[in-house]
């Protein structure tokens, strides 16, 4: 099956080669965990390494902010726009849903103009305002994701999680069911220091790494590192040494 590489070392390995072509991939994490950076890197790598033009749909941050943030990583988004390899579109969930659901919308035209193959949607959380009914919202998200697939796009969809540390209950409309893959980014406290952890929770129709990896946001973007050794409860945000929990389990008894 065709793979769409993220271009992020370590992550493609976790994904058994990359995302599936024309799939919808959810990246969920708390503020500052690097969701947008991961998305921008996915788009930038697609253009620079695989000649796959891309689109960024932003519902909150100004396009200007993406140009500036990208510059910090040495990625010249303005030049890529001038070369018709990229479009950073500031819009809203209601407009993008309506545009892609119709015929010859402005966003659809931009997809065709540059031959986009990848898209970053930042962030899916803003769709929440379109309906208070979880069933209706799930229908809207399902329709939106399918319109991206119809346009031949492999999408990376970010979603915010409220808590900085620890697991959260999934909302009722949980888009994770609709997405083809589900990546979780989490803060982890280890010995009074905050680190970042990444887990591939789901990759439909494919094998994937089951371990939890550390990652860092460096000058060059996201770098996925080794897995957390000798610890458990990583995704709870407060992992314990496995030896400690082993002892604790027996002592309590």
């Amino acid at each position: 099956m065709e793979r769409v590489k993220t271009g992020i070392s370590g992550l493609d390995e976790m994904l058994d080669g990359g995302f599936l072509g024309q799939s919808a991939n959810l990246v969920e994490g708390a503020p500052g965990t690097g969701k947008s950076t991961l998305g921008m890197q996915f788009i930038h790598s697609g253009i620079m390494q695989f000649n796959q033009p891309g689109l960024i749909l932003t519902f909150e941050e100004f396009a200007q902010q993406y140009y500036d943030d990208a510059t910090n990583f040495g990625w010249d988004f303005r030049a890529l726009e001038q070369a018709n390899k990229l479009r950073v579109i500031m819009t809203s969930p209601e407009v993008s849903y309506s545009d892609l659901g119709g015929v010859d919308g402005r966003i659809q035209t931009m997809i065709k103009e540059i031959g986009a193959q990848r898209i970053l949607v930042d962030s899916l959380s803003h769709f929440d305002r379109l309906s208070e009914d979880p069933v209706a919202l799930r229908g809207i998200l399902y329709g939106f994701i399918n319109s991206l697939k119809r346009e031949g796009l492999t999408s990376l969809l970010t979603r915010e999680s409220g808590a900085l540390i620890g697991e959260l209950e999934s909302p009722e409309e949980d888009v994770a069911f609709v997405a083809d893959s589900y990546l979780m980014l989490r803060y982890v406290e280890i010995e009074s220091a905050i680190r970042k952890a990444l887990l591939v929770l789901k990759l439909r129709g494919s094998d994937h790494a089951k371990d939890i990896r550390q990652y860092e946001i460096t000058r060059n973007g996201i770098e996925v590192q080794s897995k957390f050794e000798g610890r458990e409860g990583i995704m709870s945000g407060s992992p314990r040494r496995m030896a400690d929990s082993f002892v604790e389990a027996f002592v309590r008894r």
Binding site: F62, Q64, V88, I89, T91, V95, S98, G101, R106
Partner: protein, 146 residues
């Protein structure tokens, strides 16, 4: 007073109103301020970006050129109320700086694709990076609002 004295006095003339242009801070200054502006930019300022809201909108769309959104969201992006920007947004559509499209039941606005108008906008925004220009342009807009 005899007749000879009355003849020696100059004929009384009512005071002439001072011309507005001769007062400091008005016409002359205005002309002086505008004289050294690029004529093309000045024309764009006079005919197209002739309000502070239009200025905000033009800068916003220049910096975020692929924005496609409704009036409510655009108002939010520039930190104003939709009712306040409505007329100015429509003026910019008439001036062909912005385009208006129907998307389903929504009306959305986007920057023109016309290369010549985009070049004029670029020229204007580039000029407005200069503080002297901004002072002059703001003066012009304030006069225009009186």
């Amino acid at each position: 007073m005899n007749d000879s004295e009355s003849h020696s006095l100059p004929e009384w003339q009512p005071a002439q109103p001072r011309k507005r242009s001769s007062l400091p801070g008005t016409g002359d200054l205005s002309r002086r301020l505008m004289d050294d502006m690029d004529p093309e930019v000045l024309e764009f300022l006079k005919t197209t970006v002739n309000s502070f809201i239009k200025w905000d909108l033009v800068i916003f769309f220049f910096e975020n050129p692929h924005t496609t959104d409704t009036i409510d969201n655009i108002a939010r992006y520039i930190g104003r109320d939709a009712a306040v920007i409505k007329l100015d947004l429509e003026d910019l559509v008439r001036a062909q700086v912005l385009e208006q499209h129907a998307s389903g039941t929504l009306t959305v606005y986007a920057l023109t694709k016309d290369a010549q108008i985009r070049e004029k906008i670029k020229h204007f925004v580039s000029a407005s990076d200069d503080r002297q220009f901004r002072v002059k342009a703001i003066y012009h807009l304030i006069r225009g609002t009186r």
